[in-house]
Symmetry: C2
Subunit: 192 residues, 2 copies
DNA sequence: GTCTATAGATAGATAGAC
DNA sequence: GTCTATCTATCTATAGAC
């Protein structure tokens, strides 16, 4: 409709890349538009040409993660409730962290991002869906704590210096093992 | 020595309490001295009378946690290296989180605090001590991931909404169970 | 698409009166 | 110990030239 076909050229992607790097290092609140512009060798005004507000920029940075979560949640909710669906969600989250190691860390940690996610789609509806899938219908305290630890551990693993040396495949394998262990999920038949 | 006996009166404690609440809700970077002063019904200048800089205030807020970590690390390092020492450190950390539920969340998450801890004592020397005790001499990837998940899970549990309803004792029990599970530590004989 | 320039708000921090 | 007042720097955001 009113949306011009190609508002997202090369410039837009460059801004998103620089913003992600700086968000991961300094947090969203600790990153100014001046810092982003400086990293690109341009001025703030050039960044504002691509994104009308900082909020819009943050949401654009987070968007690939939201898309991927939506995709695997749609798929997981296709199978009946139970351990299989739970495992599918866990695998989806671990895939996500492996694909976007620095990006996922932006989600947790900064309360400003948390507020953004509580007020904007797709996060507003996505967050409860994921929580519900992991917790089940009537979670006991043990399950609540396990889910909390998995969420925190997955999201912060992208910026944990101790894990920086691990390659994606190793990180994926060990995160999945730990998450399944916490949830009491058996390793599937095909795994080593 | 040169330290006057009572620089820390009631006013100082009030500032620390308000700062902690706001740090836990908005993060350190997201909390201004104006917000702290407003919560106390005073002006910024009154806060600056108690703490010369924001950095000094943040370090003062974190101090009780540093003291407690120092104490249990000193005790744990008294016993020989091995599963017993490891378990002692884990118990110390879980105790800590239960004692200072909101406070521990300030430690992780905000990169500004991370930088502060890398440059100021006791954190500068304390952080590697804890990491070394949890990781052991030659940690494999599995151990690294488990330790990372424990660290993230413990520290963020204080602000996780899903856990807000749990009382301290329940939180303590379940965090300890999960942490031991991840590390392959057997529950001690006396536990239920 | 990028720039200069600037507005308006707010940050951390200080000076000095009471 | 708290205040008013102020400084300086930086923040988000906008206007308008090139």
């Amino acid at each position: 409709m009113a949306r011009p076909v190609a508002p997202r050229g090369r410039g837009r992607e460059r801004v998103l890349g620089a913003a992600l790097s700086l968000f991961a290092e300094h947090g969203v609140s600790g990153t100014s538009l001046h810092m982003i512009a400086e990293a690109l060798g341009v001025t703030k005004a050039a960044v504002y040409h691509q994104f009308r507000t900082k909020e819009e920029l943050v949401l654009a940075v987070l968007r690939p993660v939201g898309d991927e979560i939506t995709a695997f949640m749609d798929a997981a909710e296709g199978c009946p409730d139970g351990p299989e669906r739970l495992d599918a969600v866990v695998v989806g989250l671990v895939d996500l962290v492996s694909h976007h190691r620095r990006l996922t860390a932006v989600l947790r940690g900064d309360p400003a991002v948390g507020r953004l996610m509580r007020t904007h789609e797709p996060w507003r509806s996505l967050t409860p869906r994921v929580a519900r899938a992991l917790l089940g219908a009537a979670p006991d305290p043990a399950r609540r704590v396990a889910v909390s630890m998995i969420g925190a551990g997955l999201m912060l693993s992208g910026v944990e210096p101790q894990l920086a040396g691990l390659d994606d495949a190793t990180l994926h394998r060990e995160l999945l093992r730990s998450a399944r262990l916490l949830l009491g999920l058996p390793a599937p038949a095909g795994s080593a």
